[in-house]
């Protein structure tokens, strides 16, 4: 019985490994020498090489785009949390005029299609001279993420017993001090969950980045990858290497902080 369970465990893991083959295939491709790229079979190349990574790292715009992506995603996360946390506290704890309608707007906002605003937003950003800047992407991505952040954090704050805050306030601490002492530490894991979702969303975002950027000054990784240049033929090996580099932060987050990610995803879906 136990042996059978162990065998089944192994089979499920194998099945999931097989599911991830599209990724592993790209990983293998990124190490294949050019001569083996267009030949199939054999599945396994004659030797492995780092030549594609070297090409991408030294002769493409991908490193610059990785830096842009990192900065935009980091700043987006910071801005969305800085704006979303106070708003969520107000929604959870304070009497806000028109709260019901606001909450409905927040929920509807999580389903807002980007394509509906990308045109006017482009005109607006161009008019105020923000085209091709980090600022444009940070503002657009943070605004896109805000409804989800407010929704998630409001739920997390509501889970904190209000008596804890009241007790702290009775001890002579004002509301602000009570928030610092009680709410912030308890909502910290929730902040991590929401922050990771925002970071991933911004790292992966394509439509805004493709539309609002024009040069390597602000182009993010998805845009660099979509526009990856090929002169006479498609450089599949280089594209594979660039894809793997673009996937590193998401992979690190899933592998290292998956717990927080799962919590955020579930909270977003289940707090209905």
């Amino acid at each position: 019985m136990r042996r059978r369970a162990a065998v089944l465990d192994g089979l499920v893991l194998l099945l999931l490994l097989a599911y991830a083959i599209p990724f592993f295939w790209q990983l293998l491709t990124s190490f294949k020498p050019d001569a083996d790229l267009m030949r199939l079979p054999p599945l396994w190349p004659s030797r492995l090489t780092g030549i594609h990574y070297e090409a991408v790292w030294t002769r493409s715009l991908v490193p610059r785009a990785l830096g842009n992506s990192l900065a935009v995603a980091g700043l987006t996360t910071a801005l969305a949390l800085a704006l979303g946390l106070p708003a969520a506290y107000a929604m959870a704890r304070l009497p806000v005029p028109g709260k019901g309608a606001l909450m409905l707007g927040v929920v509807a906002g999580t389903a807002f299609p980007q394509i509906a605003i990308v045109g006017p937003l482009y005109l607006l950003l161009r008019a105020i001279g923000l085209r091709d800047t980090w600022t444009a992407l940070v503002l657009a991505n943070a605004s896109l993420a805000l409804p989800l952040v407010i929704w998630l954090l409001t739920g997390f704050i509501r889970e904190i017993p209000e008596q804890l805050e009241e007790a702290a306030a009775l001890d002579g601490a004002g509301r602000t001090a009570a928030i610092h002492a009680v709410v912030l530490p308890l909502v910290a894991p929730g902040l991590v969950s929401a922050g990771l979702l925002v970071f991933l969303g911004s790292w992966n975002e394509f439509l805004f980045a493709y539309t609002f950027t024009a040069t390597e000054a602000s182009r993010t990784v998805p845009v660099a990858l979509a526009l990856f240049p090929g002169v006479f033929e498609v450089p599949w090996g280089d594209i594979a290497a660039a894809s793997i580099l673009a996937s590193l932060p998401p992979i690190l987050i899933v592998a290292g902080l998956g717990r927080f990610l799962v919590r955020g995803l579930l909270a977003g879906a289940l707090k209905e």
Partner: protein, 289 residues
């Protein structure tokens, strides 16, 4: 109103204000602007800028390309969401009984979901390569997946299912973990086999979460853009051109601002109507408050 209440109200408004200002400027204002633009003929390169009223919408109502995009969007949404729910449910049931290596299993599962959709597009472009792609190698044919009008939509749907099934699986898996083991124990004592337990315990308890997953995934599929734009660009022969791709091409390739805006508004209306319809149905079923 006491002084304390007044102070609280003021604090509440103050704390909300920064978020609302950004949302108003970067989302609500462009959303109002897009409605305004959709009521005009605007083609900047030809200096066209005049009032259209509902002219763009009237044009779309008789536009075969719009009808095609609507059909592609509907097929893409219906087929990929159905497959995601089926496969996600299966994956969750398999994971439920997993003892060893749960963390690894979850990481492998979430990998596909966490990758940028542009990366997914590149992954599948390479897998579908007519001469050296793994897919053709595996099935022993030489099909032109992304170039053949009869295959491209299927290829696109497959890539989308791969990317988003893990989300459904995760939701179902979390719900399954919430079912106490003694429920199954009791069923076994009563003589219910594995299949009966699935049929009478697992599926009924999963119904609410499946409906929520259905809602989330449908809304996402209706507004999807990245994958088709990068993988097929709407081609071949517009067989993968969804409403979002048609809107983008009108806005930024043929520079018909009014027309593109009208299609964007149509996508928005479609998403909101779908959400509203689902929620009404859920409420009737007594699931959502």
């Amino acid at each position: 109103m006491t002084r304390r209440e007044r102070a609280d109200r003021r604090a509440g408004a103050l704390l909300m204000a920064p978020a609302l200002v950004v949302l108003a400027g970067v989302t609500a204002y462009p959303a109002a602007w897009v409605l305004w633009l959709s009521l005009q003929y605007r083609i900047p390169i030809f200096g066209v800028a005049r009032w259209a009223g509902l002219g763009q919408y009237a044009f779309l109502a008789g536009d075969p390309r719009f009808a095609n995009a609507l059909r592609v969007t509907a097929v893409f949404t219906a087929v990929s969401v159905a497959l995601e729910l089926l496969l996600g449910l299966g994956a969750a049931v398999l994971l439920r009984r997993q003892r060893a290596g749960r963390q690894v299993a979850l990481s492998l599962l979430l990998l596909a979901w966490a990758l940028p959709s542009v990366v997914t597009a590149k992954l599948f472009e390479w897998l579908y390569h007519p001469a050296s792609g793994l897919v053709n190698h595996a099935i022993g044919r030489s099909l032109n997946w992304l170039g053949d009008p009869t295959l491209a939509l299927a290829g696109l749907i497959l890539a989308d299912v791969w990317r988003t099934m893990p989300f459904v699986a995760l939701l179902c898996y979390a719900r399954l973990l919430g079912i106490p083991a003694d429920v199954y124990e009791a069923a076994r004592v009563d003589g219910a086999g594995g299949a009966a337990a699935l049929r009478w315990i697992t599926f009924p308890l999963l119904r609410p979460i499946l409906l929520i997953a259905l809602l989330f995934r449908t809304l996402d599929a209706l507004r999807a853009f990245d994958l088709m734009f990068v993988l097929t660009g709407g081609g071949p022969a517009n067989t993968t051109e969804t409403l979002t791709v048609y809107a983008y091409r009108s806005l930024f390739q043929t520079l018909q601002l009014g027309l593109g805006s009208a299609i964007g508004v149509a996508v928005f209306a479609l998403v909101m109507l779908t959400a509203w319809g689902y929620l009404a149905a859920l409420r009737r079923g007594g699931i959502a408050r």
